[in-house]
Symmetry: C2
Subunit: 225 residues, 2 copies
């Protein structure tokens, strides 16, 4: 099995502050897990005994609402950690994690995380900073949700997906999401998301080939947000 010491993802999160010896310990007890598109990694209300680090693929954090739909709170790509919040505050998860495409995760047991938080101040400080940043992001999202229209929010998500996950040589967004998934992120009805994307096509802001989306006029989109 591959070792944490050589893992590139590590550079992207708090693990980068661990010492060689600490990394060796993590490496020794971590396990790698594979999930297919649509697989549930953990469910809302579960107690986690460890955290997950994304090696490849993309996951989403979602919450089921009263009316049966679910809302996507966050997308997570390479290097990002799942479940650290629940493990740190020792609560059950308030969100489910689902694989958006085939995904490879490293699972690190809870006690490893907690031990190094206790023992390595740089590590805990880095996690502290990450949480602070996440919190700021959540506040910003909340305000967006409260103050912006569905069209504006969808625009921002398109730009975010391009910036975060990139596009292929032809310009199509590398991360392919269904209209339903876009709706779940934006917090609207699937039909509304479809309608707005159709309008964007007519306006020449985007083009599509099946589920694939290509941003044709980034500046035009930005003008909406």
């Amino acid at each position: 099995m591959s070792k944490c010491e050589q893992c590139i993802s590590r550079q992207l999160n708090s693990m980068k502050t661990l010492t060689t010896e600490e990394l060796r310990q993590v490496s020794a007890c971590k396990s790698t897990r594979f999930y297919k598109k649509g697989d549930v990694i953990f469910d809302e209300g579960e107690s986690l005994n460890g955290i997950f680090c994304v090696r490849s693929g993309v996951a989403k954090l979602t919450k089921l609402s009263a009316n049966g739909k679910d809302h996507t709170v966050k997308l997570l790509g390479k290097g990002e950690l799942l479940g650290q919040r629940s493990v740190i505050s020792d609560e059950r998860t308030n969100l489910s994690a689902v694989a958006i495409n085939d995904i490879e995760l490293c699972y690190v047991p809870k006690d490893q995380l907690l031990t190094h938080i206790q023992g390595n101040n740089a590590f805990s400080l880095d996690i502290l900073r990450n949480l602070a940043t996440d919190l700021r992001g959540a506040e910003d999202d909340l305000i967006n949700m409260a103050q912006k229209s569905v069209k504006q929010r969808l625009t921002e998500v398109l730009i975010y997906v391009q910036n975060t996950f990139g596009h292929d040589s032809e310009g199509y967004l590398s991360l392919v999401l269904s209209r339903e998934e876009y709706a779940s992120i934006v917090g609207t009805a699937t039909e509304s998301a479809i309608r707005i994307l159709s309008q964007f096509k007519k306006d020449g802001l985007i083009s599509t080939t099946g589920k694939q989306i290509k941003i044709e006029n980034l500046e035009g989109l930005k003008r909406i947000g």
Copy 2:
């Protein structure tokens, strides 16, 4: 000036994990500040050189939107800390803090906070847990905003205000907010908030005397949320 060692508010936040000696240090360099209703404690985009701890009164964190209205993200009462997020991640604030009524705050310089985070593991772990809890709260709020109606959100805010800040002997909510402030918390137009509260009155769920609000039928309200 009063000392931190005897401060009751301390019990309510991470300061409770500081040692006697650490508390003495904090106490030695803290200052107490008074603000009147409506005063700005700090502004969106400011760099903070310290954090604030609420001794008495209530503050709100708000963000100005493009259309000139502002959205209230959080209310803060006795013992709660303002600005810790910005100080920890060493970023400018993304929110403004405003006094909702006359308020007394303790100001603790940044370096005190950071020194004790570095030096006292229990302290930094407690702040970590608090941030994790705040993050969960922000995620829950985001989902509420996305999935619930204005009426449901307003109901929840009324119940929250009663549970958090209590009511007087006659049952009126101790924290008096204008309809505009309720609208800003809920994320709606002031007229919508007024209309819904009027409806609640007609339905016997609440009663009002001027700006004062009294919950008459808690169960009825809960049935809406």
